[in-house]
Structures are given as C-alpha cells and as structure tokens.
Amino acid sequence: MSVIVDDDLWSAVGDPTRRRMLDLLLADGTGTATSLSARLPVTRQAVAKHLVVLDRVGLVHAVSAGRERQFRVDQAQLARAVAQLADVGAAWDSRLRRIKRIAETIQHRASPTTQDKQKRT
C-alpha cells in the first residue's frame, strides 16, 4: 500500500458528489452514468468523469459491458478509505487521553488530594 495510492483514494472520497454517487450505488447495488445523473444535480458527463476517478482508485468496478456500463462499489476498498478517515479521529482520541494522563499526574504530584493525604497517615 503506497502513500500515493492513499492520497488518490482520499481525493476520490473527498468530493461530495462522488460520495453521493457511492451512497446511491451502495443503496441500489449497481448504476450507470445515466441512472446516477438522473438522481443528482449534475450532468451525465460529469457523473461519467467522477466514475472514471472512482474506478481508477478501485472504489467502483464496471460489472457489465452492455450499451452502457453498470458500476458496482468495491466494498473492501471503500472500507479502507473509511478506516483512514476514522484514523484521524482515533489518533486525536489517544493523544487527548495522554494529555489527560500527563496533566492529572502533574496535578496529583503538585497538590495531593485530601484522600491521598489520609492514605499516607
């Protein structure tokens, strides 16, 4: 897994239109540029371009080659993108826990509570 691929993956899901397209594809199972554009405030051409971006990073795959290609979401790749999103929040959660622990340790050493004093006597 290279960093460059991750950047592209991030860009792909960072766009609100592409995320709505993913939502629709997940809800419907499959979709085409025409069917997606009918439900979004963008042109079929714009949807087709977004599908190219999503296809390139592996978030969607063409599942039929008829008159118009049907696309389906790649669940595993989507899970990876979502996990990266969640990592940012998780990283701050663990940092905040460390901040809390360090600050409370300092406070505790500087001014032990009455309960602590009683324990020592």
Binding site: M1, V3, D6, D7, W10, S11, G14, D15, P16, Q84, L85, D87, V88, G89, A90, A91, W92, D93, S94, R95, L96, R97, R98, I99, K100, R101, I102, A103, E104, T105, I106, Q107, R109, A110
Partner: protein, 153 residues
C-alpha cells in the same frame, strides 16, 4: 475541495494552568505526540515537529503557533511546506480551548483543514500507526515520565 473538522471535548482533573502547560510546551508535546518538537509559543514564529522513523531518520512537519493565551487558548498550524507562511489553504489548524470546570479543566480540541491536501494525518497514522497511536507504545513511556515529574517537584 472539502473542509473537514474534528472536534473533541475531554474533562481533565487538573487546573487550566497545568493543562495549558501540557498542551503548549515543546517538552510536554513530545510526551503525547511527536518525538521531536522545536517551537516557541510566539504567534507566527516558525517551528517544527518530528516523527522518528528509525535509523536516525526524522520526518519533520512544519509547525507554527497561531495564538497563545495563557491558561485559555493554544492554537497552531502544521503540515505547511517548509519556507511558506502557514495559511488556511496549506495547513491544518489545531485549537485547544481551556475552560475551568469545578476543580479541573474542560479541554476542547478542534482540527480543521482541506482534506484534499492528502490528509497528512491519515498518512502519518497509516505509516506510524503501530508506534504512535497505541497505548502499548505509550504506557511504558508514561511511568518513567511521571516519576521524572515527581522528582523535580
């Protein structure tokens, strides 16, 4: 471009003075986030934080203090390119707001920036995740650190 924000609030049983010191001093920062931290708490002054990648290689990220109001607020920007002035379009803004709550402090964190920048945070989390985010790594560090603080007080 999409603007993303993370928000967290946590209660800490320590005074705002202590909490401010922990979130804003380079020495303490090294204990809860980067392996190296070089900055002065002066708005606009260029600084940097570093992440140890083994073999004596440090990955540096630029770090500029935006605002520092003792015991109330500390904010900084990071990940802008070296030599550039930190701005909304080239860096992430992290803000710590402190509020007295009983005998402790309510600490509110926000981080915001354009996710299309590559979400440097996610990259760092991915690359150094096993070292940087886990308690497995930090718990052993904390005990000696707590002992050090006890010794100087």
């Amino acid at each position: 471009m999409e603007y993303g924000t993370i928000e967290r609030t946590i209660h800490i049983d320590a005074s705002p003075e202590v909490v401010f010191d922990v979130v804003s001093s380079p020495a303490h920062l090294r204990e809860w986030w980067p392996d190296e931290a070089e900055f002065s708490p002066v708005p606009g002054a260029p600084g940097r934080i570093g992440f140890d990648q083994g073999d004596k290689v440090i990955a540096w990220e630029q770090f500029t203090v935006v605002d520092a109001k003792p015991n109330r607020l500390f904010s900084f920007r990071w990940t802008h390119t070296e030599g550039t002035v930190a701005a909304p379009d080239n860096s992430y803004l992290v803000t710590f707001e402190l509020e007295p709550a009983g005998e402790g402090t309510l600490l509110r964190l926000t981080e915001s920036g354009f996710r299309e920048r590559g979400w440097a945070e996610a990259k760092i989390a991915t690359e150094y995740a096993s070292h940087v985010t886990g308690w497995d790594f930090f718990l052993p560090r904390l005990a000696p650190y707590a002992a050090t603080i006890g010794a100087v007080r």
